[in-house]
């Protein structure tokens, strides 16, 4: 019993260690993806070199970076009205469009022989956020070291981080679905349109839901009113 327990414990601790090792490797794989995107994104999905856990981590870090950037950058470079900012709201206003765009892309690409599953698309998009994290986090520190006259360095790095991430997202979509560049461009626009349709449906759904809910509430009130 005790021996069995011990071995089971050791097995699970081995499994945990293996999981952490795999997690570490998939995290480190991001450096390969951002510098060799065509190769990297293909292997990420088709050779199982990435993990969802790493993707979640990158997404979380991305939201954290975005919020930290607003809160902690020196006022010379970003004038965010800190007194009015709700960081959860800001993070959600980035997270929701991200997820809706992934969903829209999945929904559309499934119809037009895209190879990627939702999980693959999500993972590729999360890995594409890595340059933003890697550049913006040090930029927050840099903003406290440079002065207003040197703002152009700051701005160049900032644009580099965004352009790089967008480029990676594009390549990621291309490799995940095994599309040609032209088809990917068309699908980028289609995805934005799809996201708008999803937004519209959600709004309609919630307004109908609140109407239905209101109906039952008033029904209940009416009954209570009649009974007493």
């Amino acid at each position: 019993m005790s021996v069995l327990g011990f071995s089971a414990e050791r097995a699970s601790s081995d499994g945990r260690r293996a999981w952490w090792k795999h997690y570490g490797e998939t995290l480190r794989y991001a450096t390969h993806v951002i510098f060799r995107p065509f190769d990297g994104f293909w292997d990420l999905v088709h050779e199982k070199r990435g993990s969802l856990a790493a993707a979640h981590t990158f997404l979380f870090l991305f939201l954290l970076t975005y919020v930290l950037r607003l809160m902690c950058t020196n006022f010379q470079f970003i004038s965010a009205p800190i007194q009015y900012i709700n960081i959860y709201e800001r993070a959600a206003s980035l997270l929701l469009p991200f997820l809706v765009l992934c969903l829209a892309n999945w929904a559309l690409s499934t119809l037009f022989d895209g190879k990627g599953r939702f999980q693959d698309i999500y993972m590729a998009m999360c890995y594409a956020l890595v340059p933003y994290i890697l550049i913006q986090l040090p930029l927050i520190l840099l903003s406290h070291v440079i002065s207003y006259d040197e703002a152009s360095y700051y701005q160049v790095l900032q644009s580099v981080s965004i352009v790089w991430s967008l480029f990676l997202a594009f390549v990621g979509l291309m490799q995940v679905h095994d599309y040609t560049p032209g088809k990917t461009i068309i699908f980028v626009f289609a995805t934005v349109f799809g996201a708008l349709v999803i937004l519209f449906l959600v709004l309609v759904f919630f307004s109908l839901l609140s109407d239905a809910f209101g109906f039952f509430v008033s029904l209940y009130r009416e009954i209570v009113f009649r009974l007493y």
Binding site: F75, Q76, S79, P81, V145, S147, Y148, D149
Partner: protein, 505 residues
């Protein structure tokens, strides 16, 4: 026992509150609500401020001892200690003399001896040059009259006999101004080419400072390709708008206000409601603030009682601070030469310090005169201690007395801790005294990036120089440690290799 004590305590509190209430009410009952004077902070939010100006007195027809009360007065002009009021509805001009704080009517000007016709017909504006010659914009007689100080007719400025002026139109002079060399600038209704300029001898020499024609690309495409010729003829063409009012400052620059624009243009500083025109008519107004000088930064929507500020008149104090008078909400806005709002005050209403029909503003020294055409009243504003401190600090700064100016700003901060200019002023003086870290703090309070960056560069330079040993040590460590680790690893491998094979690699 305890209940009794509690009730006693409550009773005491109630009594105290009742006793203090008149005090609290007194603070407000001087007629100035806490939002009467305000300023905008960095975020464009209204910040209440102490009063920069308060009403000294209000001049009505009665207080001036007029037999026929004023009717729809249109304009003010101040020269020395004399104030001229254009009583348009009665076809006359009132000359008021100031003696200390007393104002008395000196004379009523209602004709020019020797002119044809001698009387005025709806005069709209008056100007007086340095020799005392009086100029009257005589709207419905289609002329600008010039007479000497004894009302002897000298000359009249008529419709320009020039091909650039549409001869079918009447000459309707609305606003006039005279510069120090006797040139006359006329703002005429229906003329959108700018100000009509006459030389001192009365000859017409052209227009200056026309508003630029504005239209957007979409308008252009629509009109060019999607409308027929007939439709185009019916639509209004792209024409420049007319100015609302003009003022010539000490340096001979013309300040002009403009009230025809779209709200969208205002916020992006395309509309330029206040302009400073140089001799070739270019706008050279300095705008160093985050927001352009457009009066109120927020409004509900365009309607009769709301919408953007519309400056009916503008006046420029001797220290280059310009003050504009807003018709929409009856407010007075003061800006410093850098285009930064110093204060704004006023409201709509029919009590002292409020306006129904804001139409004209003038100044004598630092005192302001605001004319209301509906109330037929002239409100005299004098600066408070707070207002005077602002002027004092500005003057000291312009004179180059930076440290003294900083002290004045410090005094001002005890009255209004939301005053950005004070923080900047103190910061500048601290930079001069080489207290960079403290200066950075003040600039950060005012969100002044450029000055902060400047102070920070000095601060950083000193900090690096002071800690040069540490900086070098850190850099050396950053380079040396990885190098040493790499070397150690390599040596270890060589040893292993030797142990395995007995060979030196």
């Amino acid at each position: 026992m305890t209940v009794k004590r509690l009730s006693l305590w409550l009773a005491f509190c109630l009594a105290a509150a009742l006793a203090l209430q008149p005090l609290a009410a007194m603070a407000i009952e001087d007629g100035y609500s806490s939002t009467y004077t305000y300023n905008y902070d960095y975020w464009g939010d209204v910040r209440e401020s102490p009063d920069a100006y308060r009403v000294d007195q209000v001049l009505y027809s009665q207080t001036l001892g007029l037999e026929t009360p004023m009717r729809s007065p249109q304009s003010l002009f101040a020269q020395g200690n004399d104030l001229y009021v254009v009583d348009s509805g009665n076809n006359r001009i009132l000359e008021i003399h100031r003696e200390g704080n007393d104002y008395s009517l000196t004379r009523i000007i209602d004709h020019a001896d020797g002119a044809e016709p001698a009387t005025f017909n709806t005069p709209r504006d008056v100007a007086v040059d340095e020799e005392g010659n009086i100029y009257v914009a005589d709207l419905n007689n289609h002329r600008v009259l010039m007479m000497d100080k004894d009302l002897q007719f000298i000359r009249s400025y008529e419709k320009p006999n020039d091909s650039t002026f549409d001869q079918a139109l009447n000459f309707l002079p609305n606003k006039i101004n005279v510069d120090s060399s006797g040139r006359v600038f006329v703002l005429a209704t229906n003329v959108n080419k700018g100000l009509i300029k006459y030389e001192a001898d009365g000859t017409f020499t052209g227009y200056i400072g026309a508003n630029k024609v504005t239209y957007d690309l979409w308008d252009y495409i629509w009109k060019s390709f999607f409308t027929t010729k007939e439709q185009r003829a019916q639509q209004e063409s792209f024409v420049p708008t007319e100015y609302e009012n003009i003022y010539i400052d000490e340096g001979g620059f013309i300040y002009a206000t403009n009230t025809v624009f779209s709200e969208y243009d205002l916020l992006y500083d395309v509309a330029k409601p206040i302009r400073r025109l140089n001799s070739i008519g270019n706008d050279i107004l300095i705008k160093n603030d985050r927001y352009p000088p457009i009066g109120d930064l927020e409004w509900v929507e365009q309607s009769q009682n709301d919408g953007p500020s519309k400056f009916k008149d503008i006046t420029v104090l001797d220290n280059d601070i310009y003050v504009a008078f807003d018709r929409t909400r009856g407010r007075v806005f003061g800006y410093d030469p850098q285009g930064i709002m110093l204060w704004a005050f006023g409201t709509k209403g029919n009590y002292e310090g409020a306006f129904q029909g804001a139409i004209s503003i003038e100044h004598m020294g630092h005192d302001l005169y605001c004319l209301d055409e509906n109330e037929c009243s002239i409100t005299v504003f004098t600066p408070t201690e707070y207002g005077n401190l602002i002027y004092q600090a500005n003057d000291e700064y312009l004179k180059g007395d930076y440290d003294k100016s900083a002290d004045t700003w410090r005094e001002l901060l005890t009255m209004n801790a939301n005053y950005n200019l004070a923080f900047i002023g103190i910061g500048r003086s601290l930079v001069r005294q080489e207290h960079y870290e403290e200066a950075m703090h003040y600039f950060e309070m005012a969100h002044d990036r450029e000055n902060y960056g400047r102070a920070y560069r000095y601060y950083r330079k000193i900090a690096i120089e002071r800690n040069i040993g540490w900086v070098v040590a850190v850099i050396v460590l950053l380079l040396a440690v990885p190098f040493a680790i790499g070397r150690a690893r390599k040596m270890k491998e060589e040893v292993k290799h030797y142990e395995r094979t007995g060979l030196l690699s």
